[in-house]
């Protein structure tokens, strides 16, 4: 193939689409609004959260240390991490699957499914717990009796906690991926197809890399939500010390038992993780959009 003679095509370099800087015309209103917003957030969020931190360290690192020496608490923390891991895993796999289904396929009932996916966001966690107990309880649940007769206990054990946690965190992954999928469209996949890529190759080489960041945000959000779930877990777990008690249940337990130091310390640990999660999201998100 010979080099085609071509006059160098002169074309303007791509112009960065730059969003116009917000109007910086400052009127007294601007300052009033700024003050009101800041003060509101300070009173509602910043101050209370910072107090938990200071309370935790009232006695230096002692409270955290004693917490980590308490075997029951350590087990609870481990259980929380374990549950969160599986919840993230399940929601990631099915989240990607359902998102692809919602965006790329047409089927009857799609709109209903789309709307129903928001249920876990607006239903009380207590109701979630109750619903799972009714169906999977070993004593009289719809499926629970059958499952327990083959020796599989869902409610009052780890699978139930994982189910409850997965339920409440379910929409987060999907709501992150769907807009990304919609935005990238199908042309890249069609181009790959015309170049000989089969469905698997298209998914691994084109689709997955394109929604990578959506999945990362989804994982972070799901993780934060899973670690922090309380109501639904409380109903399905039975709260058995050292077995089905998660970290959030420990916070309640300790506080009600007048172990304020312990409660604050555990709360601090949980808050650390969730704040770390959103800080991570806040840092990587703008970079990706640039």
């Amino acid at each position: 193939m010979a080099d085609t003679l071509m006059p160098e095509i002169v074309e303007a370099p791509p112009v960065e689409e730059r969003r116009r800087a917000p109007r910086v015309g400052r009127t007294p209103t601007t300052y009033v609004l700024r003050f009101v917003a800041t003060a509101y957030l300070f009173l509602l969020v910043a101050w209370p959260v910072s107090l938990v931190v200071t309370r935790t360290f009232d006695g230096g690192f002692a409270s955290i240390q004693s917490l980590l020496e308490d075997p029951d608490t350590v087990v609870a923390l481990q259980l929380s991490a374990y549950v969160a891991f599986f919840s993230v895993l399940i929601n990631t796999l099915f989240g990607v699957g359902i998102s692809l289904l919602l965006v790329r396929q047409q089927f009857p009932g799609k709109r209903v499914l789309n709307a129903l996916l928001d249920i876990p966001l607006s239903v009380s966690p207590i109701v979630v717990g109750l619903a799972l107990v009714l169906v999977y309880s070993g004593r009289n649940g719809w499926f629970g009796s059958a499952l327990s007769s083959i020796g599989f206990q869902v409610i009052f054990s780890t699978p139930g906690i994982i189910m409850a946690t997965t339920f409440v965190a379910l929409p987060l992954m999907i709501r992150e991926i769907v807009p990304v999928l919609e935005e990238i469209g199908i042309e890249q996949e069609q181009a790959a197809q015309s170049l000989g890529a089969n469905a698997m190759q298209r998914f691994w080489r084109i689709t997955l890399p394109s929604i990578k960041w959506g999945i990362v945000y989804g994982v972070v959000l799901t993780l934060a939500r899973s670690l922090g779930e309380f109501g639904a877990v409380k109903v399905v777990s039975g709260n058995v010390l050292g077995q089905t008690r998660t970290a959030t249940l420990v916070v309640e337990e300790k506080y009600l038992n007048f172990d304020q130091q312990g409660a604050y310390a555990t709360a601090f640990l949980l808050a650390m993780v969730s704040v770390a999660c959103i800080v991570v999201v806040a840092i990587i998100r703008p970079k990706n959009h640039a």
């Binding site: 193939m1 010979a2 080099d3 085609t4 003679l5 071509m6 006059p7 160098e8 095509i9 074309e11 303007a12 370099p13 791509p14 990238i184 042309e187 890249q188 069609q190 181009a191 790959a192 197809q193 015309s194 170049l195 000989g196 890529a197 089969n198 190759q201 080489r205 084109i206 890399p209 394109s210 990578k212």
Partner: protein, 325 residues
């Protein structure tokens, strides 16, 4: 023949996109599918590529019945109007994609990518991401990517449609020269008759889901099959019972030739060397006439002048259809 389409039908709901389409695309040629937007030409191209399925009919590519082959098995190169670049891959990776899918040896791929990037003049950008390229550069990259797999046919869907006028014209010339070098059977969709006339060896005019005419640019221009083809390829006016081009009308200030139609100049616009006239004939028709400025001056024409109009000798003339006006 490289591509044979037989009895192809396609509906989107109630909308008939293609109706009993039969087309043969000759091997090694540059063929244009020309027609107005929404006329079905892109659908035809996408069905040939396997990105869309026809409701009935067959598609045959290089002697193989491709009707039921999925797109990835057809070995066609496809270039999209909006480039469809793989945003997360570098320019070189984009071009290498089809070869990697085919599991070619690494050094062969590297060599071929090099060669192709040179061909499309993007060698110095091989490690950039597509977002750092201009529109024209992205489209050249997409073209290299499609050529990399040595497709049996190359299909381009309005390839220059998203580019601005100047770049479009330059790329169009370049595509013609590229084709003269590479000789791969190429089909491109366009709604721009100038683009088709200038670049293509053969033009298929598609309108409202049907093929109106197939022929070389000259055939189409000189012997349009109907009013639609004639009007789509250039300006048309009506004189007496025929349709013809405004510059194919002879004008005189005296009734010198037999059959001349008398009329009054109602509007006169000068554009460079041309003068465009609107003549109101005694039959009540409005006829457009284009003459040179010199010509107009020699007759001393002005608005209100009485003139006689006759079709020029050798002009392309077709009987006027009743429906069209």
């Amino acid at each position: 023949m490289s591509i044979e389409v037989r009895g192809l039908n396609k509906k989107f709901g109630d909308f008939v996109a293609l109706e009993d389409v039969n087309v043969s695309i000759p091997t090694g040629q540059l063929t244009a599918l020309l027609g107005p937007s929404g006329g079905g030409k892109s659908t035809l191209l996408r069905i040939i590529a396997g990105l869309e399925k026809g409701d009935s009919g067959t598609v045959n590519i290089e002697g193989v019945d491709a009707t039921h082959l999925p797109a990835q098995k057809r070995n066609v190169g496809f270039v999209f109007q909006h480039y469809a670049v793989f945003k997360h891959m570098t320019v070189a990776k984009n071009v290498a994609f089809g070869l990697e899918i085919r599991k070619r040896p690494k050094d062969e791929i590297a060599h071929r990518v090099d060669e192709l990037l040179k061909l499309v003049h993007l060698s110095q950008f091989s490690h950039r991401l597509p977002s750092q390229l201009s529109g024209g550069q992205r489209q050249r990259m997409a073209l290299a990517r499609a050529l990399a797999v040595e497709p049996s046919v190359l299909l381009l869907d309005e390839p220059f449609g998203a580019l601005d006028a100047k770049v479009r014209k330059e790329l169009r010339d370049w595509l013609r020269r590229l084709h003269d070098d590479v000789h791969v059977t190429t089909v491109f969709v366009t709604h721009d008759q100038e683009e088709a006339l200038e670049v293509a060896d053969e033009i298929v005019v598609v309108n409202e889901g049907r093929v109106e005419q197939v022929g070389t640019p000259d055939e189409l221009y000189d012997e349009p099959a109907n009013d639609f083809v004639m009007s789509f390829l250039g300006e048309v006016t009506h004189l007496g019972g025929v349709s013809l081009r405004p510059h194919d009308i002879e004008l005189d200030t005296r009734p010198r030739l037999a059959g001349g139609v008398e009329g009054t100049v109602s509007r006169m616009v000068r554009i460079g060397f041309e003068v465009r006239l609107t003549v109101l004939t005694v039959d009540g028709d409005e006829v457009s006439v284009v003459i040179t400025r010199t010509h107009a001056r020699s007759y001393g024409l002005e608005e209100g002048s009485t003139v006689w109009l006759t079709p020029a000798d050798g002009a392309t003339v077709i009987p006027r259809m009743v429906a069209a006006s």
